[in-house]
Amino acid sequence: MNGLTFDIAHLLAGSLVLVSFMMLYQDRLFALINVFALHAVVLALSVAWQAYIQDAHHLYITAAIALVFKAVVIPVGLHRIIQRLGIHRDIETAVGIGPTMLAGIGLVTLSMVLMLRVTPEADPLAREDLAFALSIILLGLLVMVTRRNAVSQVVGFMSLENGLVLAATGAKGMPLVVEISVAFSILIAFIVIGVFLFRIRERFDSVDVGALDDYRGERR
């Protein structure tokens, strides 16, 4: 039984990394958002499973937030924004897909080597969760730096936050303060981003952050 619970947790966290990889090669905004919704669903399952095996009922709330808010509300909202802005065209990736995937593999290797080496004494489940979480965080960063479009940067940032939630739930008995704050910060972050998106649209008729570079006060 113990082996099985471990395997399932492992499977879910591993799939989360896999879905992060899927984000790297999406070249359409709608597809990217759908993959993000999938990411959030897997996260919700993973958190719920942690809640079950740790017998920590407050984690079910975190799972529910991930499921309702990140897997449904935000993707639907982003779909609407994209439709309203009329930008459901291809994403201009700043770096090609091949190098991005290779970089992603490198980052995952790095985080595995690092986290597994420094946590030999920790609970095996927690340490693997941490290693996966760091991979997801780094992959989220990679999504953010390889995209030029504001919406896809937002998606990258949210997938990064998913990695943080995975790490926080993997740490046994971590106080509720943090989970709520994580969820809360995502909420605030989304509001802020939403405001930005609309302002950017209002001023530029485009959400391509690259367009902003032309207005720099100072060339370097």
């Binding site: 965080i137 960063l141 940032f157 740490a171 303060v177 910060s185 207005y215 100072e218």
Partner: protein, 483 residues
């Protein structure tokens, strides 16, 4: 007595929070500006009362100790003077139509929420709560940087937001790792995030995990300090937001992040087998100093110039704390206080200068001491102070940093002095153009309030000549705590 002293802590949190709610509801901008000043003043009084009242025992969420009192008092003081400056600055922005009345309502409410966030970060004993507070302060400043809604302001705010969030995400990961390291020793639950509990037991934590955690925390909070490879948001955010926000960003928000780094540095120092935090911090500090010193030469925007100077000075401070030891820590603390006071004074002057000249371009501002003597000389004194000339306060703290470096790691003093000299040259070069010569640009008289900038400069001047003995004793004590 205990009940009363708890009130002081509650007051520095509830006054800004309550004021924010009131300010959000008040429509009249003149009234909101004065309410903002009044609330900031009350918060300052509450902070000062921390010196005389009994301190509450550290709880699970809040703590007051000798270290954070220094930060809180500095924070509330500069917060108060900035609110005075802000009142006169904002009135002008409203006249020229750059801001509208609803903007201002939002701006003042955000100002108080930001003060709340910063005070909360200082008094929090819980590393999770501290993270939330830093994030809150960051988000409010992001909104304020973007308040002009110009292309540049939006770009700056977006960049600040993205880099700030990434930094803060890394810091949260570091915080989770600290919890993971603490949990086997302290036991699961809130206690494993309480700083005063952690510091007692840090010696038993897994050193490898703690070391990795510190690297994430240093990178994460270091982004907010503006350390060199991670500083990209800082000049833009300073240049494009309203000038009062530039003043609080440089004078206060950078300190908040620095304070977080220091708290975790103490934790690491308590664990003998973990990596030494000092060399990492010293390296990042020196890199920032030298990088920013060279960048100072190519600035064409006056606010960007002083933003790079902030990176330079945060570099010096982080370097001093990284070296450690009583003398270097003392120098670092003194330098932090002096830099906050001087840099905010400079931004007060720069704010009015940019308003009367109608530009932030250095090449279009000339001969300020002739056209606007009050502002011009404030800028001269401020820049002379920030460049580190005697007899002002920054000279003394820089001298202490350099001499303690010479005493302990002489070869590190070479790049340090080199960086200081490069920055010195750049600042004086720009200053002669700005302050002297044939006046150029607008000559409209200013309706500036000179009190905030000159009171800061007077303090810096006094500190350069004479530091009161109790203050020295207090700083020495805090420097001792910092190890």
């Amino acid at each position: 007595m205990t009940a009363f002293s708890f009130d002081a802590v509650a007051a520095i949190l509830f006054i800004p929070a309550g004021a924010a709610a009131i300010l959000a509801a008040l429509p009249n901008y003149k009234m909101t500006a004065s309410v903002n000043v009044a609330a900031s003043f009350l918060t300052l009084l509450a902070a000062l009362s921390l010196f005389v009242t009994d301190r509450p025992a550290p709880g699970q969420y809040l703590i007051v100790d000798d270290l954070n009192i220094v930060f809180i008092v500095l924070n509330t003081f500069v917060g108060f003077t900035t609110s005075v400056f802000s009142a006169s600055y904002i009135a002008h922005e409203l006249e020229t139509g750059r801001l509208t009345a609803p903007n201002l309502r939002f701006y003042h409410a955000m100002y108080q929420i930001m003060m709340f966030g910063m005070n909360l970060a200082f008094v929090s004993n819980n590393i999770g709560l501290m993270w939330v507070a830093v994030e809150l302060a960051t988000l409010t400043t992001v909104l304020m940087v973007g308040i002009y809604r110009t292309h540049e302001a939006l770009e700056a705010a977006w960049k600040y937001f993205i880099l700030g969030s990434v930094g803060i995400a890394l810091a949260l990961f570091g915080t989770i790792l600290v919890y993971m390291a603490a949990q086997p020793v302290v036991g699961a639950g809130t206690n494993a995030m309480v700083w005063s509990v952690l510091i007692d037991k840090a010696a038993h934590f897994d050193p490898a995990l703690l070391s990795v955690a510190f690297i994430f925390l240093l990178l994460g909070y270091g982004t907010k300090v503006g350390l060199a490879p991670l500083h990209a948001w800082l000049p833009d955010a300073h240049a494009e937001g309203p000038t009062p926000i530039s003043a609080v960003l440089s004078g206060l928000l950078l300190n908040v992040a620095l304070y977080a780094v220091l708290r975790f540095k103490l934790l690491l120092a308590a664990s003998p087998e973990a990596i030494g935090p000092g060399p990492l911090m010293a390296t990042m500090g020196l890199t920032s100093l030298i990088f920013a010193a060279f960048m100072l030469y190519r600035r064409r925007d006056i606010k960007r110039l002083f933003a790079y100077s902030s990176i330079e000075h945060m570099g010096i401070i982080v370097f001093a704390f990284g070296m450690g030891g009583p003398l270097a820590n003392f120098a670092g603390l003194l330098h932090m206080v002096m830099h906050s006071l001087t840099k905010s004074a400079i931004f007060f002057a720069v704010g009015h200068i940019a308003q009367v000249k109608g530009t932030q371009k250095i090449s279009e501002i000339r001969g300020l001491t002739e056209s606007h003597p009050g502002l011009g000389w404030a800028l001269v004194i401020g820049v002379v102070a920030i460049a580190g000339l005697p007899p002002l306060g920054i000279f003394m703290s820089e001298f202490l940093v350099v001499s303690s470096t010479f005493a302990r790691y002489p070869w590190l003093a070479i790049p340090l002095v080199f960086g200081l000299l490069i920055a010195f040259g750049a600042l004086l070069l720009r200053l002669t153009g700005l302050a002297f010569g044939e006046p150029r640009g607008g000559t409209a008289p200013v309706e500036a309030s000179y009190v905030p900038m000159y009171s800061h400069l007077a303090l810096v001047f006094t500190a350069g000549i004479y530091l009161p003995a109790p203050l020295v004793a207090w700083f020495q004590h805090v420097a001792g705590i910092l190890g």
